[in-house]
Symmetry: D2
Subunit: 425 residues, 4 copies
């Protein structure tokens, strides 16, 4: 099954009609992602950082209801006023929230009731867009991008949940077989100097991608492709997880406390390493990018390889010349795959795996969050997180840009996160 | 809906046929208890002490499979060998167990798959009983009593889960209205002397109910009925939860740590106290027995009332003269109800609420657990638990006896546990 | 150094003078126990269950101040009113308490200041006893018995603390060498029937030792001496710590969680097992009673040996015929030692090691705690604890009786607790 | 008492003699800081992030022993080989470490034994410096700067410990009275453009202060002085601690979890806010810089004030023009004090309080940690920490520089950390 792809609003003659189509397509994609899952799958929460599938389906609807329908659609009647409390994620200025860590204790509303909620919101949203057109385009587009972010989280969260199950469920069917070799890694050089980064131009971007501003860079080089599983196994075989000299202090503490000896989801078998995927448990493909590693593991690998991770400014300067193409969200293939190694000099800079950067997530110079509750979207998370760039195989196509800043705490492993090396030049 | 009642095997001409009927009826009751629940309800676990509904349905099947089908039915083929790991509760001698606290992280097998598992086991069990007759009667009867215990746990566990949900689900429909007054409490006197307690006679009993043995009792009196909600509210209004002098030291620590100010599931409303029930949130009925209190609360109430709790020997001596009748498991009325106050001297000594005794759960003189894994059923829990007696509104009819010993840690509140007072004479 | 021994008040012509002597001697013993310790030793707390040495020295003084000096000595001026908050242990009716788990975060008052506090209280107490004589004898005697209990805790707590230190301090100097063999174990039979237990006669006893009352016992046998280290090593070598079938469920969980493979303070060395003692790290003596085992380990050992633990009634009936003699608190020898095996049928029934019984700590029939705060001394701890009997090598001589009930949670290991086996007859 | 001040090695004709003097002076300062404390004070640890005084005294000696005496002084005999394990802080390449969180469970070596250890090391170090001269200058200087860092930690750690004590000890005597007003805040403007930051020139610097490199800055302004207690009280009175819109998400979670309503050590009294200081509990001085606030509180205050925190590059560019003068470590006055408001444009840019910057602690471009264990000094802490600049009233004079980077996690409050505001221009 191929997921519907979000239309590009700019391609259409009238904004309102394009927006309605885009709205319908993004919303359908979420439902299509959940459809192969049993109701039992959709209600569970494997850890406080993850949410149940049905919570994602409901929360994204609550977002439209809260920021568009209630303030702007006269006569709108919520399906259940109590959903405000249940499905507000973290908007303190909107009101109290059901505790995040307990989202997986709510069997009701059921999956069917959540789908009814979605339909109720969708009907009202289509009416609102038809009536307001351009006036709501910015907020609707924000809501759709928000929903696309939750599509990726839906995938990573259900993977984390199902990986716990000894039955190794494969809700999306068997994986496409894609065996191929990875091309040898080479280095792409970039000059130093004063550079500009941050979003510019038309189209949508999150507030944290701007303002566009100057940074001074030293000359550097970027690896032509991400680190592969095969290369990472060499690090493991060389004792990488047992040598504290390679690790950040907090990383080493985590290795010890959690007993990390391999990326998340990996298990040894008689025939070699295996990994849990949403297509079942599979052998680790040496040619595919290593995935589900934390920032700590990325930094340790880079230290072992005598390299470093790129800063986000280096990454963005390098990536800005490359086409935004790659392996994005497709439920037939929810795993990173080996690099073809043709075309652009920077391979797989988009898609497959998010790439950890050496940059802590912080405000760009002169950044101002939006006023009101919507300003809580990004800015309030600017502590103890590292920036990742480039999107993954769970990122919806059309959702990624050179300036896109993803961010997670450095111990995060359940996202599709990998490693691209950098060097000084 | 009325739940099927287990037939009494002794009433039937041939053991095998009676046993097959009893088997069918007990097994149907479990399914009937789960039927009104959504799949989403059946998969969640609200705390480590509770289990998901579908786990109860599967584990009780595993019990028959493990202790009867695998050792005794030639050619029996399990539906999935991995269920051994998933559905073994605590039998160390059988093998490893999926961690108890994580049972609520397993979406698979789904509810439907668990029902298939039950059908598979049921078919094989009927064949086994038909073939082996008397030879398996003891183990089958143990398995059925085991399943009845899980029926009560299923009810208490789903109540604990749904009570968390702000939507206050009422899966078993509205409650029967049963408003009536509680009769005044009076005291029933019992002489002291050397008495016998413990199971005797024919029929089934758990190993921990014997051997029958002598205990010397001092003269005592037992209250004619359990403490009511109204009486307990008087304790609350008198500052009972705020006066450390009434409490056991550990109980007071718990009151402080958990912020207890009322029985579990109670919440104040403008019109007075309400309680969550499986029939929705309802006003607290002052005439009904107080329920969902811990041993600590029971002991504090008794201290406040200038009384004490009975020992289990006192309770059993007193109850042995009363008919084993009362308000037992019935999904139309899953709450204790006010005492009619007619008939026997001791009202509601069976059913409605389990009654905390002052006795720690320990081995009777000359008690020996059964050999092998089945010996893990009872004996290994003899530490840090208090005995409760008499059954509750969630105990299946036919499952209770004068000698029946239930046991839970003293801080337990999610069982249907109440208070009957005693005094020295 | 020999500790001063408490005089027996009953042996003296005038109560007041005898009481003043007893007071002086008990109080001096506490100071003598602390004297070999550095100030640095006396301020630390190794776990919430243990207290700093200087806290014991201060709290026992607070006890006299609170229950005697403040209510009964006109014009008594406390040295510092804030000590009430710092040194109240758990008397809720007296007032708030500095949190128990944080006692080891208080460097002030210093050890010297605490000794000043003791001297201040002692002067006032001598004046009070001189003036009031008989009228305060009961409370003073309670205070002295209370202080003797804290002498034992002082020893067990400092041992627990110093055992953490890789330097293995030996504050009380090297141990007396006492190598000898243990005599073979034999069984002493006791008839069943109606027996009386509980304190009777004159002299001091805690309230929880009464009232004296009847219990019906079945015939039983008691081992002639405690289980030795050598016998316990046989259990260990037979895989006792690895076989869940031997353990209570909670005990097994504890074994797994804590990684228990031997008694507390034991460590393997090239030459065999060693144990930390207050005389330094020493080889485990196979002939000495096993010590620092929990109730769980005691019960598992008994199951492995095909025996059981005695109930406290059995223990008391058996011990009542034996002289109250044994190896009690002596700072030259703060470890249990091998049984001489001469004299009484029951060897080492007093002293050396506390013996775990199979009885949960609960109220005797018709037990009533004292009125007021002093009633919090014993009764409020009657949950989740097991009774130990007979005293240990850290119990002051004169402090133990046949009816004496010590009690600790079943996972307790830092007390001098051992095992005596029982059997049905 | 005035602490000895470290000589500047560059001021002396021969390095060796200057170095021996500097060595002696820095080492004496540590002992002088501990001298007013009781042994009981010096052994306790109030939280895992803090260490006992005597541990600081020992660890700084271990540093010299490990990195200088053992590898370079022939015939050096350690006083106790086991100190390696006890006093290694975090150098994985040296060997195992006694667990940091349990440092406060070690009563031995006693304070006197630690002072013997110091004397032993000092004798050997003086011999080594005399013999090796210039060849060990770099490592000795590193060791002295390391010891100065521990002097500040000794002060902050003992303050954290003593603040727990209801007796409010004042080991350093009463505070100097320094009442004065704070001058009005004004803004100092700085142009944007390409700037250089990082250490340059001669003298000592930590590796993380380099390499010197270029950064592009936008025009900005810096407040002329730190935020005062009076200004911070205005934030508190305006509901700053209760308004989630002002806080980073993690900061708000911390406020809720910890119940923060004021800076650390503050308590309300009838006459207004008080704070615990090492000179006893004192009224909060409205004119003095606010201190003991976390990064979260600093950022929330800045948001409330419509400003922001400076980046570390902005701070360093601004501070580089100011003389390195201020209120540094002096045991007569271990609290920040009101700003005189004369002289330099930027008041109190050094000393009094560390100033939180908006910059996460990370590697400067082309930074390389030193080889071997000494490379663990700084680089491995580059995650989840924020940079602070400028030194405090507990920083030894001579230890601070424009390029000096201090770093702590954003929830840290027990350091002398305050707030200086910045604005865009």
């Amino acid at each position: 099954m191929q997921l519907p792809k979000a239309a590009e609003p700019d391609d259409h003659p009238t904004v309102s009609s394009a927006l309605r189509d885009a709205y319908a397509q993004v919303r359908e994609t979420s439902v299509a992602l959940a459809a192969p899952l049993a109701p039992e799958d959709q209600v569970l929460q494997s850890m406080p950082d993850a949410s149940p599938t049905k919570w994602h389906l409901a929360h994204t609807s609550w977002f439209f209801e809260t920021f568009l329908l209630k303030p702007r659609l006269d006569g709108y009647r919520p399906i259940d006023e109590r959903y405000d409390y249940l499905f507000n994620s973290y908007y303190q200025q909107i009101g109290a929230q059901f505790p995040r860590a307990r989202r997986g204790l709510l069997s009701r509303p059921t999956v069917d009731q959540v789908l009814d909620y979605r339909a109720h919101v969708d009907d009202a949203m289509q009416a609102l867009i038809a009536r307001e057109g351009d006036d709501v385009a910015d907020l609707v587009t924000l809501g759709l991008n928000h929903e696309q972010q939750h599509q990726e989280l839906l995938v990573t969260d259900i993977k984390h949940l199902l990986a716990i199950n000894p039955l190794a469920p494969a809700p999306y069917g068997p994986a496409l077989a894609l065996a191929q070799d990875a091309p040898p890694l080479h280095w792409i050089d970039f000059d130093g100097g004063l550079r500009e980064i941050g979003f510019h131009g038309n189209g949508f971007a999150f507030d944290n991608e701007g303002p566009r501003h100057r940074q001074h860079l030293e000359a550097f080089a970027l690896a032509s492709r991400p680190v592969t599983n095969g290369e990472f196994i060499a690090f493991m075989d060389a004792g990488g997880y047992a040598d504290p000299a390679l690790w950040l202090s907090e990383g080493w503490a985590r290795v010890q406390a959690e007993g990390w000896t391999a990326p998340l989801y990996w298990e040894p078998a008689a025939t070699g390493w295996t990994r849990y995927t949403l297509h079942g448990r599979l052998p680790v493909d040496p040619a595919a990018p290593v995935c589900h590693v934390s920032y700590y593991e990325a930094a340790a690998y880079a230290a072992w390889a005598g390299c470093r991770l790129p800063t986000e400014a280096e990454w963005e300067v390098a990536a800005s010349g490359a086409p935004v193409e790659g392996h994005f969200l497709d439920i037939a293939r929810l795993e990173p795959s080996a690099c073809g190694g043709t075309g652009a000099k920077l391979w797989q800079i988009y898609g497959d795996v998010w790439e950890w950067t050496a940059s802590a997530y912080s405000a760009y110079p002169r950044y101002r969050p939006a006023a009101g509750a919507i300003g809580e979207y990004n800015g309030k998370f600017m502590s103890n997180q590292m920036v990742l760039r480039g999107g993954s195989c769970a990122t919806p196509a059309g959702h990624i840009r050179p300036s896109y800043r993803n961010f997670f705490p450095p111990d995060t492993r359940w996202q599709y996160s990998g490693i691209r090396l950098a060097q000084d030049r």
